[in-house]
């Protein structure tokens, strides 16, 4: 199973800043292995972020997002102790959801 995400959510002024690192190969499908065989594409395609159950960001990614992806953004509101839930789904249909609490 994929490793957990590393999520940081902090109140900054009247917004909440979310920074997340995900553990994923983000294989492009363009690389070849040592035997010269093409390594099939394998990458995160969809990311959703929800604040207390309400979606705040949706993303679609291609394989050009760097390996072990990083994402940062802010949304209005959010208070210490609120729940941030992030889910990704990759091109193999694997899915991972992690939660963090706003600090």
């Amino acid at each position: 199973m994929a490793d957990p995400m590393k999520i940081r959510a902090n109140v900054v002024g009247d917004s909440t800043e979310v920074k997340v690192l995900m553990s994923h190969e983000m294989e492009t499908g363009q690389r070849k292995d040592a035997q010269g065989k093409t390594i099939p594409a394998w990458f995160i395609q969809n990311v959703t972020v929800a604040h207390n159950g309400k979606p705040v960001l949706n993303a679609q990614w291609g394989p050009a997002i760097a390996k072990n992806p990083f994402l940062s953004f802010k949304f209005k509101g959010g208070a210490k102790g609120d729940k941030i839930e992030i889910t990704w789904v990759d091109s193999r249909g694997e899915k991972r959801t992690d939660e963090a609490v706003i600090a």
């Binding site: 990458f43 959703t48 050009a64 997002i65 990083f70 994402l71 802010k74 949304f75 694997e94 899915k95």
Partner: protein, 157 residues
Amino acid sequence: MQNTRRQVLKSGGGLTLFALLAAAGWLKPGDAAAQAWNKGAFEAKSLDEAVKAVGGGTPAQSKDIAFVATPDIAENGAVVPITIASALPKTESIAILIEKNPNILAASFDILPGTEPSIGTRVKMGQSSNVYALVKADGKYYVASKEIKVTLGGCGG
């Protein structure tokens, strides 16, 4: 990541059920699992093609789109930090496109109500290239661009 048992669907290009759904237009709010992935847009080779794939017309150049904390030179193309901020009213989405990558669209972000129109992430670049920030605001498309140079590094080749 040894896990392949959750593989839903196997096929040559690594396509999934979601990709095969091939939605038109931008994302709708909701769970990632229920999200569609715009295959056509991600296979586009040019900016025009990509915009067309998301149902837009020719984008207008805009000075209200900024690349923030984005270096002109990347020491390594495998990881290029990019932050895009839009000052356009009613920004609905922000997309990153890299002209010289095999497929031009790198990512698109749906800015939901209450979310600030500023996104930071990291992309791969095969070579020095123009990078476009494509913004949909109030139903219309706008674009800004920046050139990022990729240097070669390393000693022993």
